[in-house]
Structure formats: C-alpha cells, structure tokens
C-alpha cells in the first residue's frame, strides 16, 4: 500500500483533545502515521498524491457497541455484507455484534464462524459478543475465559436481562477473573411483562400496556449494589429514563467504576412520535417522555452517559406490518447514527467533541481496542463527513437489508462522504 495524504480537513480527535484544521498520513501498513495541523500541504512531498478534504470533518471511525446482525439464523433481516455496507455509509468502522442470533452465540464453536463470516463478507471490524448465560436463559453462566480467549470482546444477553440476582452476582464474581466485560440490558422482565411502550399518559390513551421506568431502574440499582461486592468490568447497555440517570450519577459520585450507554433513538425521539401506532417506533428500552429525552441528552454533556449506540436492529417489513402488540421490536439505525447524533450538535444541545467522543474514543476505551482515536500507530479507521449538508431520510435508499428506520422523512444535517478502514477507502458517497 502506498502512503496516503489527507489534507485540509477539520480534525476532531476527542481522546487527544484536538479540534483543528490539518491533515492525516496513512502509512504503508494502513496505520496512522501522523495527524493534526502539522500535516499540511507545505510539509508534504510535492510529488505525493494528496486528497483535499476541503474543510470536511475527519474523525476516528465510529465504534458502535450495540448492533444486531442476522447471521446466523436471521439472514433475511441482515447479513454481514449488508451490515457492512450500511455501517460504512454511516462512518461506522467497528461494531460489537449482539449474540441474539439463531442459535445464540454462547459457545466457542460459534466464534470461528462469526469471525470468518465477518472477515470474508464485511469490510468493517466485527467484534462479536457472546451471551452471559447459556442460550441467554439467565441460568447457567457462559465460558467467559474460553470465549474471551477465542476473541469474544464482551458478554451480554443482548435483548435479555439476567433476572436472578444470585446468577448475576456469580457472573460478576467469576467474569472478573478473566477481566471479561459484562454488558447488561437493564430490564426487569416481570415489571415489563407484556409492556409495549412507556407507561404514562400515552400508554393510557393508546390502550397499550406500559413499561414502567422502574423496570430499568431496579436492575441498574441491583447491579450497582452487586458491583460493590463483586467488582468487574461492567457496562449498562442503554438507559432510557431520568430516574435511572440519577441512580447512575449518584453511584459515579460515590466512586463506583462502570460505564453507561444510550441509544440514539432515546436521544432523538420520544413517546409522542409513536403517534397512531407506528410499529417502527416499538423499541426496547421504550421511547419515554420529552423530559426523559432531555435528561439523557444532558447526561451526554456532563459525562454521566459515556456511549451512544445505534441499537441497530433490522426487522423485515412483515414483522412490523402487524398490530403494535404483535409487531417486532427494534429499529434499523447504523447508517443514520452519526447524522442523527449531529442533530444534537446543530441544535446546540451537545458540544461536538463530546458527541464524537461518545461515538469513538469512549466505546473504544471501554472495549479496550486499538480504535477510536488518531494516535500514531493506530489503525487508520476514519470517518470523513460534511458537517452541514442537508438531506432527508428515505427508506428506499437505506443500505441495510431491512428498512425499518424510525426516522423516515426526517430532515438531517451532516452526511458521511468517505470512510476508511485500516487505511483503505471502503466507502465514498456519490
């Protein structure tokens, strides 16, 4: 590979607290050689091929910690190739794949399959997670050590929650030996049983059974209590309510060490958007009130929430063309993650550096991977975007195999123009 020179870009590298006009050099191995204002036209050999980015923004490739792939078992919803195309067009270069496949990812024999398919069919970095418990049933813990050695990056029951506090305490206790990362989807299944949307005025009016915020808060409180006794690497997958935020804030103030994520959907939409039973907005955790949404946004700013995820959950149209109670849960979102997050910058809710850190350096740090910043020697996974270009979400243009976007027709500002993975140009908008 020849060295590549990207010049005249606005370089934002939150880890190094950089936001300046400059360039970036990719070395012959696809690694970052240098980045920042020192990389300018005058300092480069005149014979070199230079890509002028015309003041567009250059950030580390996005690391998305919650993505559902359909392989194995749900290939009709999404496969590695379609996921890769969708991710790259959204500037996402690394994903943590959720283990809720068919069969679920709960043993070492599945890991090779995932890694091989991920490598052969996609251009992005796939970091597979495995379940916390056998078949994600919440009973028998997974082989953390063996799975981790095989290349499993984190453990989570994905869409499920370990309900039994004894099992959870033992998981935390055991997993700490292998320094495994535990990711919890916080939802008490009894409190949320048959629930469809946030419990409140809207659920009363629509006649849909509500999911109380308590279902989330109670699991977070439980896990944080357990964490005090059984310390491990612990991450809350995504939270949705203001009441949970105060629990997290207090625990962080008390010095507890853990991290928290939020879905872009909960930052950008609220329960009112469900309107007349829009099943594309049936999500888990559910969209809550505007007050909750505003609190979540504020928590990005003050660092209570560390990570923004797409919670990309492709669902075929058939599974959404049903009554609200019968419809599948989840929304496609990996390709609109960045543009939708930029909305929070454009409406002056979140500072750009904070926003980018929650999409790049923070998740990379939690996962412990060589991504998410522009340090010398790191993989040249890069996302380059035009901060201001306006566009409208059109489900027919979505690259994911499933078209269940919750933001059809939304007017967004900011779009990815180029994505590099390991120094190679993997995507370029036309």
């Amino acid at each position: 590979m020849k060295e590549k020179y990207l010049i005249n870009a606005r370089i934002i590298d939150p880890k190094n607290d950089i936001d300046e006009i400059g360039g970036l050099i990719i070395d012959s191995k696809g690694l970052i050689k240098a980045a920042g204002k020192k990389v300018a036209n005058g300092n480069l050999p005149s014979s070199a091929d230079k890509i002028d980015l015309k003041k567009q923004v250059l950030i580390p490739g996005i690391v998305d910690m919650r993505v559902f792939v359909g392989e194995p078992g749900y290939e009709y919803k999404e496969n590695f190739r379609t996921l890769s195309d969708a991710a790259l067009s959204g500037g996402v270069t690394s994903v943590v794949s959720m283990p809720n496949t068919l069969p679920v990812i709960d043993n070492v024999s599945m890991v090779d399959f995932l890694k091989r398919r991920g490598r052969d069919k996609s251009k992005i970095n796939i970091f597979p997670s495995a379940t916390l418990t056998k078949n994600a049933e919440g009973k028998q813990m997974s082989e953390f050590g063996l799975l981790k050695r095989k290349g499993i990056i984190a453990f989570t029951d994905g869409i499920r929650t370990v309900q039994d506090p004894q099992v959870m305490s033992r998981i935390m206790n055991f997993a700490s030996q292998s320094e495994s990362l535990i990711i919890q989807h916080a939802e008490d299944n009894i409190l949320s049983k048959d629930g469809l949307i946030n419990e409140g005025e809207i659920s009363t009016r629509l006649g849909l059974k509500g999911i109380p915020f308590l279902a989330e808060k109670i699991i977070v409180e439980r896990d944080l209590s357990l964490l005090e006794e059984y310390f491990c690497r612990y991450h809350i997958s995504q939270i949705s309510s203001k009441k949970t935020i105060s629990v997290i804030k207090k625990a962080k103030n008390d010095g507890k060490i853990f991290t928290t994520g939020v879905s872009i959907n909960n930052l950008s939409l609220n329960e009112n958007d469900i309107g007349d039973f829009k099943t594309f907005l049936k999500l888990s955790p559910p969209l809550r009130t505007e007050d909750d949404r505003v609190s979540l946004v504020e928590s990005i700013n003050d660092g209570t929430i560390d990570v923004i995820v797409s919670d990309h959950k492709p669902q075929d149209e058939e599974s959404k063309r049903l009554t609200f109670a019968q419809a599948a849960t989840g929304a496609s979102g990996i390709e609109t993650l960045l543009p939708l997050a930029l909305e929070l910058f454009h409406n002056k809710s979140v500072k750009i550096k904070k926003l980018i850190s929650s999409l790049t350096s923070n998740p990379a740090k939690i996962l412990g991977i060589n991504k998410g910043c522009l340090d010398k020697g790191y993989d040249a996974d890069l996302c380059i975007f035009d901060l201001n270009v306006p566009w409208v979400v059109d489900k027919d243009k979505i690259k994911s195999k499933s078209k269940n976007t919750p933001i059809e027709n939304r007017k967004l500002q900011g779009k990815v123009s180029k994505t590099f993975v390991k120094g190679e140009l993997a995507y370029e908008s036309i």
Binding site: E199, G200, E201, S203, T204, R205, L206, G207, L208, K209, G210, D276, F277, E318, R321, L322, T323, F324, A325, Q326
Partner: protein, 316 residues
C-alpha cells in the same frame, strides 16, 4: 314517520369510526341525532328498512362477544344490508394469517363496511389503512369502544334530556377498560364532569390527564353524581396481582344501596355488561327498574349502531 325530521346535514370528516378521539362535537351530535330516529323504529312491528340495501357488512370479531356482535348484526339487517359475521375460530387467522392479509382478502370481496373487534389496541387503525371500505371499531384492546360510549350517551340523553352539566362516576377496572376510556372522552366532550373510582391497582397511569378526577373512596367518588357507570371486573383479575379477593373488592368498590346513597336520589345505574352480580354490583340494584337502565342501554345500542352504519357505510 313523524319523528324523522329533516336533518341539517353535518359532514362526517373521517371515513372510519375508530374511536371517540378523532370525532368532533358536531359529528357526535349527528350520530346521536340519527340514532334517535331509529329508537321508535326498533320498537315497531315492521323493523326493516332499505337504507343499506345492496351493501355488504362484515363483522370481524377476534374476541368473543355476544351483545356487541348481535347488536351490530341486527343493526345491519334492519337497515337492509347483507351481513356476514366471520367466525374467527375457523378462519385463516388461526392458521397464521396476519390481520393485514385477512383484511386484503376481505377487501377483495368488496364489502362496504367492516366492523372489527380485536384484542390488540390499534388493530382497527391498522385495518383502516389497508381496506377501501369503512371500518367501525367494535372494541380494540383496552383503547376504545366508541359505539358503547355513544349508546351510553344516548341512554343518558333519553333519561336526563342532556349530558351537559351532569356528574358521572365511572367505577371499577378502569385500567383494562376500553369502555371507560371512550366514555371519558365522550362525556367530557358533551360537557359532563367525570369521576373515576377504582382501586389504585386498576387505575391507569396519568388518568387525570384525560380530564377526570380519580377516587379510591367510592362514596366520595359517587358524591352528588347523576350517573353511576359500573364496569365489569374480569374474574382473572380478582386474584393475584391486582386485587386480594372478590369480597374485598365488593366491600370497597361494589355498588351497594349504601354506597349509592352518596349519589343523587335519582341517579341512574349503568353497566356495559355482562355483569358479575355480587362482585361489582348488588344484584337487586342491577334489577331495580327505577334506577338501573342496563336493559335500555342494550336496546339503544342497536339504534346507535344503525346510525353509525348508515353514516359510515361507503357512499356511492
């Protein structure tokens, strides 16, 4: 007939009757006005009209129902429509067909109106998006049961002359009740003051936001009321998570002569049926011809449904 006056036409905006939410005051008035014209007809010896001759009405009931289904069936037949009631137990739905596919199949047979009852809230809305004919909601999940509320309003008007200014208490399992929701919207719209009375476990979240006062003390909730509307308590909710027992419920929330004393002397008792005697209502009160209008509700239900079918049936 003398009672059929020349009505001033009110344009009904919607093509479907999906709920009281979405109806305007003039639209409700129009439905009630037309329903009144059918009351006498239903009492006469010759009940058949030909307003809907040549029209096809399909009753699509996914939940068991006796009174609502037979009421809609009679209403359609009295107006001269060809009425078909789908027996869901034998239908393709049991074989895994989705609601939309069923709707498309029925739609291909060119019905003029579909009356649907479904266990899922919002099912009529989904159906309405997919068919060319009018859709009438005969009860969806715990969301709405608009014709029940309309017939309740007609019953009240028949007895009290108006709804405006009356004080109405709705008592019982508000949480799971579509009848309660539709009545809250409608009675509020017609200018009544609405109280809901229920144990806290059977009150939906933020119910006050729908424009009612909520009470856990039945006597306070019934205080000075003109109408006491009782709701059916489903037996499966009696034990376990919602209530301790039937006798505890009856003690505090069952309608008894003693509790009824808090209401006005001439207060009327209503119930959408079917009743659980001795659970939500004292059996003698239910049959008290001076107080209970439960049978009248059933009677006027046919008139209201005739009006709805006439208004919403696809015009040529």
């Amino acid at each position: 007939m003398a009672i059929i006056k020349k009505l001033k036409a009110v344009k009904i905006e919607q093509n479907h009757l999906l709920g009281i939410q979405g109806l305007s005051f003039p639209e409700v008035s129009e439905i009630l006005k037309q329903a009144k014209t059918f009351i006498a007809l239903n009492k006469s010896s010759s009940k058949k009209m030909d307003i809907l001759r040549g029209k096809t009405q399909i009753n699509l009931f996914f939940e068991p129902s006796t009174r609502t289904q037979s009421s809609f069936e009679l209403a359609g037949k009295r107006l001269g429509a060809d009425v078909m009631s789908m027996n869901i137990i034998n239908s393709a739905i049991k074989k895994g067909e989705t609601l939309i596919d069923t709707a498309m199949t029925l739609n291909a047979m060119h019905p003029d109106i579909i009356v649907i009852r479904h266990q899922d809230s919002g099912a009529p809305n989904l159906l309405a998006q997919k068919v060319n004919c009018a859709v009438i909601n005969a009860g969806d999940g715990r969301r709405e049961h608009p014709t029940q509320a309309l017939l309740d309003a007609l019953t009240i008007i028949n007895r009290k002359g108006k709804v405006e200014g009356l004080k109405i208490a709705i008592c019982g399992d508000i949480l799971h009740s579509r009848v309660a929701r539709s009545n809250i919207y409608l009675m509020n719209m017609l200018g009544a003051e609405v109280n809901v009375v229920a144990p806290k476990t059977l009150l939906p979240h933020s119910i006050e936001r729908l424009g009612v006062k909520s009470f856990i003390d039945m006597k306070k909730g019934l205080d000075n009321c003109d109408i006491v509307m009782m709701l059916r308590l489903q037996n499966e909710r009696m034990h376990g998570s919602f209530l301790p027992s039937a006798r505890e419920y009856y003690e505090f929330f069952g309608l008894t002569p003693d509790k009824l004393k808090s209401a006005k002397k001439n207060a009327l008792i209503m119930h959408p049926g079917p009743m659980n005697r001795g659970v939500e209502i004292d059996t003698n009160l239910a049959d008290d011809i001076n107080r209970s209008v439960i049978r009248e509700q059933v009677e006027l239900g046919v008139a209201v449904r005739m009006a709805c079918l006439k208004i919403y049936c696809k015009k040529d």
